[in-house]
Amino acid sequence: MSELADAFVTALKLIFTGDPEVWEIAARTLAISCSATFFAALISIPIACLIHFNHFKGKGTLISILQTFYAIPTVLVGLLVFIIFSRAGPLGGLGILFTPQVMVIGQVVLISPLMTGLTVSALSGVRPEIRDTAVSLGAGRFQMARTVLVEAKYATLTAVLIGFGRAISEVGLAIMVGGNIRGFTRTLTTAMSLETSMGNIELSMALGIILLSLALIVIIIPSWIQQRSSRVQQR
């Protein structure tokens, strides 16, 4: 037990003395996951609108397929991206395997179905009267969609954050297509996995605390904004 406590103290020291490697890994992780979340949101939100606001055959099936992808193993996406970007693969010519760029692409593939599906749910959660009201006041299709999306802003933000949470916490994909290259593609999760297997529990734990704190901050800030804005509204 005391060994564990010692490890914890060492971990805190590593964090607060500003160990360059720890902070470099943390910054890279954040950069990769934030980029992936940004691009995934850019793709997912318009697609979710297209799905939600149109009636077409197989809509229910499409949503079910999206929901199946919520639980897709990260290693499976890793394998797929690896095959596509490996030298012999269709996009092998780009030569970006084992770079942060391909990790972003992989994470976008991983979290887009999740974000799309949850955004569709978010839009469905808006009362149909809002849509009718927008249309009855003269909104065109695009304006109506924007209005409904604004009404669903908190639920949509949650969808984006859950996507971010999945991106920052996954390890299988990052190792397979990033390769855990020190100073280049190493992230908090891949580093933890490596350091733990090498017996560097203190370092692993420091990385784990940072990972948890990042996740916590990213989840807390929006709900704080939401609470604040609803307080303002009540005035």
Binding site: I130, S136, G138, A139, G140, T147, E151, Q233
Partner: protein, 357 residues
């Protein structure tokens, strides 16, 4: 003619919600569709507001048939505004809610601010600009919805049961507001309500809709006193409806045989015509003894039930057929009427409205 509706039908699944609706509304007119809940009023307003497409039939707006293409419909739709029965407000300030229609129409700056301010003043919500619209009461929400709809000065304003979910005080406020809009704006208004009296108070013309059919359109007073069908008679509150056959016609005074009981009424129908005789409860006079009066119909009977409401008493009399009379509570007290009392019921031949079966 601003609006012409021809043979309009709407179906959901296997049920006909609207059956061959024909309707014409003049520019500047206030037309009120009156009908019970579920009669298809909202469905009709959604079609007129171009929110839905009909199963068949045509709508002409401003003399031009409503086109099929979404772009052209949008252009027409921007000249119409709808206020729904349960208005939804956007989760933002009152100001932004009211400004919505103007912003959609690319209005900005001082002109937008002035129009919003004027609309809020009209509905009595000046000073509410920064409040979140979702924190308002039902009556206030309804007023925001009205301001939001009239702010862009639509040519046609559709109001779907604007007072259906409000308390009595809010109802009279919203009604007063609608009268004011009718007076101040020269907008054409089509409004639906289940309240016949509200229709009478606000309308230039009324259309009564029951079970998806527009049964009668016309002057409110005429519909009220001379309904053209039995269901309409029931809807406008005529409680005494007797089935009968015209037995004779002497110079316009007919005798109607209702299950062996003769009634006299004014009609030009020939003997043998099958009719309903409708007598408004307020046309029935009660007296303790048989007097000689000018009333052509006199029936002895026994009071079977009395209900008091406000200054009035609703008296049910068994005269061999059930007859309902509406008299003042004071009269009922002075005559000592109670269940089991003997009384005479009188009504004039002109108090009987005849509907052909």
């Amino acid at each position: 003619m601003l609006l012409e509706v021809n043979e309009l039908c709407q179906r959901f699944g296997n049920s006909d919600i609207l059956k061959d609706i024909n309707l014409e509304v003049e520019r500047g007119e206030t037309f009120v569709i009156v009908g019970p809940t579920g009669s298809g009023k909202s469905t009709l307003l959604r079609l007129i507001g171009l929110l839905d497409k009909p199963a068949s039939g045509t709508i002409r707006f401003g003399g031009r048939e409503v086109p099929d293409s979404e772009r052209a419909r949008l252009e027409l739709r921007r000249r119409i505004a709808i206020v729904f029965q349960r208005p939804a407000v956007f989760n933002t300030t009152v100001y932004d809610n009211v400004a919505y229609g103007l912003r959609i129409r690319s209005e900005k700056g001082a002109s937008l601010r002035n129009k919003v301010a004027r609309a809020l003043e009209t509905v009595g919500l000046s000073g509410y600009e920064k409040r979140n619209a979702q924190t308002l009461s039902g009556g206030e929400t309804q007023r925001v919805a009205l301001a939001r709809a009239m702010v862009f000065e639509p040519e046609l304003l559709l109001l779907d049961e604007p007072t259906a979910n409000l308390d009595p005080l809010s109802i009279s406020n919203v009604e007063r507001l609608i009268s004011q809009i009718i007076r101040d704006l020269d907008t054409t208004i089509i409004m639906s309500t289940h309240d016949m009296f509200q229709g009478q108070r606000l309308a230039d013309r009324i259309g009564v809709m029951i079970s998806g059919e527009m049964l009668q359109t016309g002057d409110p007073r005429e519909i009220f006193s001379r309904p053209q069908s039995r269901s309409l008679a029931e809807f406008v509150g005529i409680e005494n409806i007797l089935r009968g056959v015209i037995a004779s016609n002497e110079d316009g005074i007919v005798t109607i045989d209702t299950d062996g009981i003769p009634l006299e009424a004014i009609s030009n129908l020939d003997p043998g015509s099958e009719v309903y005789a409708c007598i408004r409860p307020e046309e029935v006079i009660l007296a303790p003894a048989k007097d000689l009066t000018s009333a052509r119909n006199t029936f002895p009977g026994e009071v079977s039930h009395i209900v008091l409401f406000g200054p009035l008493a609703r008296v049910e009399i068994d005269c061999g057929f059930p007859l309902v009379a509406l008299i003042t509570k004071k009269s009922a007290e002075e005559m000592g009427l109670q269940t089991g009392s003997r009384t005479y019921a009188y009504f004039k031949a002109t108090g009987v409205h005849i509907i052909e079966r």
